[in-house]
Subunit: 353 residues, 2 copies
Amino acid sequence: MPGFPAVETPGVLIDEDIVDRNIAAAQAQFDRLGVALRPHIKTHKLVRFARKQLGAGATGITCQKTSEAEVFVNAGCRDVLITFNILGAEKLARLRRLSEDATITVVADNEVVVRGLSQAFADAGTPLRVLVECDTGLARCGVQDPEAAVALARIIAGSPGLTFAGLMTYPAPNGHERVEDFMVAAKSGCLAAVGHCDVVSSGGTPSMKSFPGGSVVTEYRPGTYIYNDRSLVARGACTPADCAVGVAATVVSRPTPDRAVLDSGSKALSSDLLGLSGYGLLRDYPDAVINGLSEEHGHVDLSACARKPEVGERVLIIPNHVCVVTNLFDRVHLHRGGRFVETVQVDARGRVF
Amino acid sequence: MPGFPAVETPGVLIDEDIVDRNIAAAQAQFDRLGVALRPHIKTHKLVRFARKQLGAGATGITCQKTSEAEVFVNAGCRDVLITFNILGAEKLARLRRLSEDATITVVADNEVVVRGLSQAFADAGTPLRVLVECDTGLARCGVQDPEAAVALARIIAGSPGLTFAGLMTYPAPNGHERVEDFMVAAKSGCLAAVGHCDVVSSGGTPSMKSFPGGSVVTEYRPGTYIYNDRSLVARGACTPADCAVGVAATVVSRPTPDRAVLDSGSKALSSDLLGLSGYGLLRDYPDAVINGLSEEHGHVDLSACARKPEVGERVLIIPNHVCVVTNLFDRVHLHRGGRFVETVQVDARGRVF
């Protein structure tokens, strides 16, 4: 196993060689398919990596929150999709300001959101681009059927300050067939009702590798692919060698022969299980089980391990869900195959507004 | 139900009236018992609230990490216990610097930690105070029996730069009897072997109300009691009226009659369940169930609700585990019974080193 830089623990280590490979592979996949790539920055929240993604050929970026978009527009990103229903006077005012510096697209799945957007943009020089969010099986946000998508598209198209720009969905894992069925019907309805439906946007790293050719989808929004994590390895979406991020931790206690305690708990790893057993994988002790987390302690069961780490040893944890881990740290450490490169601020950490 | 300030959502709202009551009640309880109170700041991470706790009569504060202690010592706290095995050259150097400005006590449960501390403090003007951490049933860190505690106390007492200062434990919930048995034996052994054992430190909000009179314990370290949360209500440790913190959220979607989606997900509420069902309690919709979290969406099942919130409505969520929630936000909003007071920076947010 390669070594890793001796940073203070707990610390987030990101292998930029793997990041570069992951960016290039995804871009090549979607270039081959003739589908635009619009990476979601919620995973890395780093301007540096958004620039890499755009430099590789991404058509723009995706943000989940207005406050995230502010960070990236301020850093020069000029084409941003915010895949969230935006409500409230403060956020709408901030959205309006953002739209003066960049092409902003948002989504809506209900009339209340559309009315708010329209009021905020009624006197704007350029209308705001709005996609209709469609629920193609995930049961989160989204209109429930193609007819409802067409009805909302018509309302958007008739609202002052807004342009109907197309359709958006976040699919259930490997839900491509449902996406195709829903989106083909919704697009055809929108073309008939509104006369245009330029964008059909789908996304998600879990379903990325199985994304089909000849799809109605015009752009894809994966996020986690840039780093990958234990949950994606478990789903077969990547291999351990594709995981760019590890949390460096120190064994601070070996209270019994079969237990170790790490200096990394739920405030470093988060409690996300994503259906897995254990709170992360100890890369160099794959038989160890992180079977519990206190806020600042990781509880490790070593009973299945032939070799066991000693007090003071540094270990590397592949996190279950990398997107929530990097959001816990103000700074992360970049390296290339173990050679330290630079420590950088996580530009949009904590931007939940 | 009282209203709450119309902050941008998601936003953490803290009722300072409830904070003041919780601080006063705990201080009165331990004053009556003649036991020192040393609140753990990991819950609030706010200098403002540490000062309230010290002003009410706390003997000092508890931190979990060296980097947390730095924030509070820099703000003027002069008596800090760090309840963590501290390892590594950087942390030991920082600990040494801290000890120049404040009385610092740390814990150890093994010889490797004691050796590191001793090396770092061998030439210090004032020896470092070290407590032996004891496992009284929680199965996290700690020596496993009173004999091991005495043996480690002897090693500490014989180590250059260190003073053996007593014993420390974080008990299992309502594990007071185990604490008494273990600590009485360990203290008596330490008195015989080392000649002194001034501090016997226990802690934890879950067990606070049931803390017994006439205990061997000399100081108590509760953290969560200042805010309380849904998990403590569920354990009977407090009532909903004692919960000082709510996460204000907005309903952004009502995709079906029985579902709502909030603008608050695992990056605002964390995924901590602490044995509960659901990711928080909607204060004004107690029959609603937050049955899933995406990173920025809360998924709510409204099927049991007679009255249902509409798109655009603001709701207040009592979090399952408040300590990890405030650590996700750079700023929190203080109010008194709904009247906005001030927005403050979370001074030690993200200090996991």
